[in-house]
């Protein structure tokens, strides 16, 4: 019965769509920050559908970034590719290598524009994760960087100037020592999967490193002085300076500890800014991620990509929708709603945004850090290669391994994972 009725419904829908030539597309989106975002995204999709008649978008909430990737790949394999997917920006390279997503260059050409012109309004830091092999594969949508959050009340109490947050690793350790008490740690880092890798990228970059080869997906720099220094720094925070909790602390627990006053400082995403702003009872401040060699942070967040196997109409419709989603106005509104920063520069020139920045000076710090932002690591088998380092770092945090051995083992594991790709590319010689 149900089957027959749904068949009938499908038949009706088919005839209806051919009558007014409406193109139906699916849009998959994960919500890595907050459930209210799912509602907001659904509202945006509806707004778009009501605003025009050519394209009908079905907005589909698809769990985490990992599950979104899984669903998008499964749907594509089954012949139902989603036209637009909001995907973790560092999956773009991997998805291009596996042939799951399509180049957006034909769409740019149809619009009579070029990649350079299109990306001109986007912050330079987000370009690298959108381009693969010289072609545009993604439109940056929501972005973040790590940020140092600190409790001003604790600073005062420990005799530190609450308006002068630590700028270097030395100052960070010094402050953390003064802030640590019997029931309180000076600093907390998110150390679960995904977050750990990103934080290690921030620390190794602040130590002068690069983490990965931005131009080639087969190289990571784990067994290097810059990464060793970062890993040793993390180990020392726990075991030498005793200013950080031993063992692996997940991101959710880090923010809970910070809000509860159990940790005086934390490194966390700018994406958490709205949440901290709404929930923190004590006065807090935000600052750049402290440096050892230079100021540098990785970009994080998500971009819009299009999957293979779409009809020409669907491709055009998906591109239209992606452009609408990433318009100056919409990116600004999404940024104010979520706490992510807008990848479009022009979003910050709007009156609403200027008003918002004046009211929320902490968001300004996140924006000021942008000139120091670098690409997010992306390699062949990104997730596995990242986990190779994360597993070793978690062993360090648990006191089971020393930093020098950890970075060596991480490098070995990562090289083994990337070997098939390296043999097909850089080591494939005539």
């Amino acid at each position: 019965m149900r089957w027959i009725s749904s068949l009938a419904a499908a038949a009706v829908a088919l005839t209806a769509s051919s009558a007014i030539a409406q193109t139906k597309i699916d849009f998959f989106f994960p919500v890595p920050v907050d459930g209210k975002l799912a509602k907001e995204m659904t509202r945006l999709t509806k707004l778009y559908n009501d605003s025009q008649k050519d394209v009908a978008v079905t907005g589909v909430y698809t769990g985490s970034y990992d599950e979104t990737k899984l669903k998008a790949q499964a749907a594509t394999a089954a012949g139902k590719p989603p036209a637009v997917v909001l995907m973790s920006a560092n999956f773009v390279l991997d998805l291009k290598i596996s042939g799951d997503i399509v180049s957006l260059e034909p769409q740019l050409k149809a619009d009579g524009t070029t990649r350079t012109k299109f990306l001109d309004d986007f912050w330079p830091a987000v370009h690298a994760n959108a381009i693969v092999d010289g072609e545009l594969y993604a439109v940056p949508y929501q972005n973040s960087t790590p940020l140092l959050y600190y409790n001003k009340e604790h600073f005062k109490e420990a005799g530190l100037d609450p308006e002068k947050p630590p700028q270097t690793w030395a100052e960070l350790v010094d402050a953390a020592k003064k802030l640590t008490k019997a029931d309180r740690y000076g600093i907390a880092l998110p150390e679960g999967y995904d977050y750990m890798g990103w934080i290690m990228e921030a620390l190794s970059m602040s130590n002068g490193g690069r983490y990965f080869n931005e131009e080639y997906g087969g190289e990571v720099y784990y067994d290097t002085p810059s990464m060793l220094g970062a890993a040793q720094f993390v180990e020392d925070l726990v075991f030498k300076h005793k200013v950080m909790q031993q063992g692996v602390v997940e991101g959710g627990a880090v923010s809970s500890n910070f809000l509860a006053g159990k940790a005086s400082m934390m490194l966390l995403s700018t994406g958490s800014l709205s949440f901290v702003r709404d929930s923190m009872k004590m006065p807090y401040g935000v600052a750049f991620v402290p440096r050892n060699v230079r100021n540098a942070v990785p970009i994080g967040g998500g971009s819009l990509v299009m999957f293979k196997g779409l009809s020409e109409e669907q491709k055009a419709a998906g591109w239209k929708f992606a452009k609408w989603l990433s318009s100056t106005e919409n990116l600004g509104a999404w940024s104010r709603f979520t706490g992510y920063f807008s990848p479009r520069k022009s979003a910050y020139d709007t009156a609403e945004m200027k008003d918002f920045m004046a009211k929320n000076p902490d968001a300004k710090v996140a924006l000021d850090q942008l000139p120091y932002a670098k690409p997010w690591f992306a390699t062949y088998q990104t997730v596995a290669v990242r986990k190779a380092l994360e597993d070793e770092m978690q062993a360090v945090l648990n006191g089971k391994k020393k930093a020098p051995q950890a970075v060596k083992d991480a490098q070995q594991a990562a090289d083994a994972l990337m070997k098939p790709y390296v043999e097909q590319t850089a080591l494939k010689l005539p």
């Binding site: 890595p32 920050v33 589909v60 929930s279």
Partner: protein, 274 residues
């Protein structure tokens, strides 16, 4: 001198307490007013004036009425069909003689060894080919046959002495009448045990419905819950999470409370008298 039974009862209470901590914590946290993840968040003691705020927020974050209906359709729909298929298949493997019966049965059992995720793409392809992508029927379809259920029913039927059926056959009953009037009533404990396992599994299932369903009006409870539980970059709103989790498990909990006696009996008195 402490009596042995008192000691055992005391030990049992300790174990019960440990086993129920996650649930107790969820219960306490869901009614805790401050959901900022404060210092008391980890406490099991309800040291506050209870509030419905977390539940109100959970309801606001998701369309729970729709999720409940969809989840009920999926979980009970699967069970209804399964009861038919596993009874018939179980009967065939237990009682009918046909060439290759045991071999087919073992091949059937091999399905239990498969890890469900490897079937996602092939199953999804079938669902798309049948035009069921995005429908609740598409979610239910792969579960209409159950290797575990068939195995359970075969074992249950084999434990029933043949005398009962033979008496019925002598009276001129057909095989389906024997199955319906004689075997199924006696297999009730097995069916109830299977129903419990099947309902729990499909009520709580996440990955497969996530793969098949698209439209918000077709989503199930677990996907709705995940939309506000999976945040990684934001902070964890424990109170909201706890309230959402309770909303998801409440119907099953109520069902179990109502039918508790039958469930327990089904496990205890599955033997036959006489």
């Amino acid at each position: 001198m402490v009596r042995k039974s008192t000691v055992i009862a005391g030990l049992m209470l300790v174990i019960v307490f440990f086993w129920s901590t996650p649930f107790l914590w969820t219960l306490v946290a869901s009614f805790r007013p401050d959901n900022s993840g404060g210092i008391h968040m980890a406490s099991l003691l309800p040291d506050f004036v209870p509030t419905w705020a977390n539940f109100a927020e959970a309801f606001e974050s998701g369309d729970f009425a729709v999720y409940y209906v969809n989840t009920a359709i999926v979980a009970f729909g699967i069970l209804a069909i399964q009861i038919v298929t596993i009874s018939l298949a179980g009967y065939a493997f237990a009682r009918l003689d046909f060439p290759g019966r045991d071999f087919i049965f073992y091949v059937f059992l091999l399905q239990l060894m498969l890890v469900p995720p490897i079937l996602i793409v092939p199953n999804l392809r079938t669902v798309v080919d049948l035009g069921l992508y995005g429908s609740l029927l598409g979610v239910m379809l792969p579960y209409f046959a159950s290797a575990f259920g068939t195995f359970l029913m075969r074992q249950t039927f084999r434990q029933i002495p043949r005398d009962f059926e033979e008496a019925a056959f002598i009276d001129g009953a057909k095989w389906w009448q024997v199955l319906w009037h004689v075997l199924l009533p006696m297999a009730k404990p097995g069916l109830i045990a299977f129903a419990l396992v099947s309902l729990m599994a499909h009520w709580n299932e996440f990955l497969w419905p996530l793969m098949v369903l698209n439209e918000p009006s077709k989503q199930t409870l677990t996907i709705g819950l995940a939309s506000f539980a999976l945040g990684t970059e934001g902070g964890k709103e424990w109170g909201l999470l706890a309230a959402g989790t309770l909303l998801v498990m409440f119907p099953l909990l109520a069902l179990f409370a109502v039918f508790q006696r039958q469930f327990v009996n089904s496990f205890m008195f599955s033997g036959l008298k006489g």
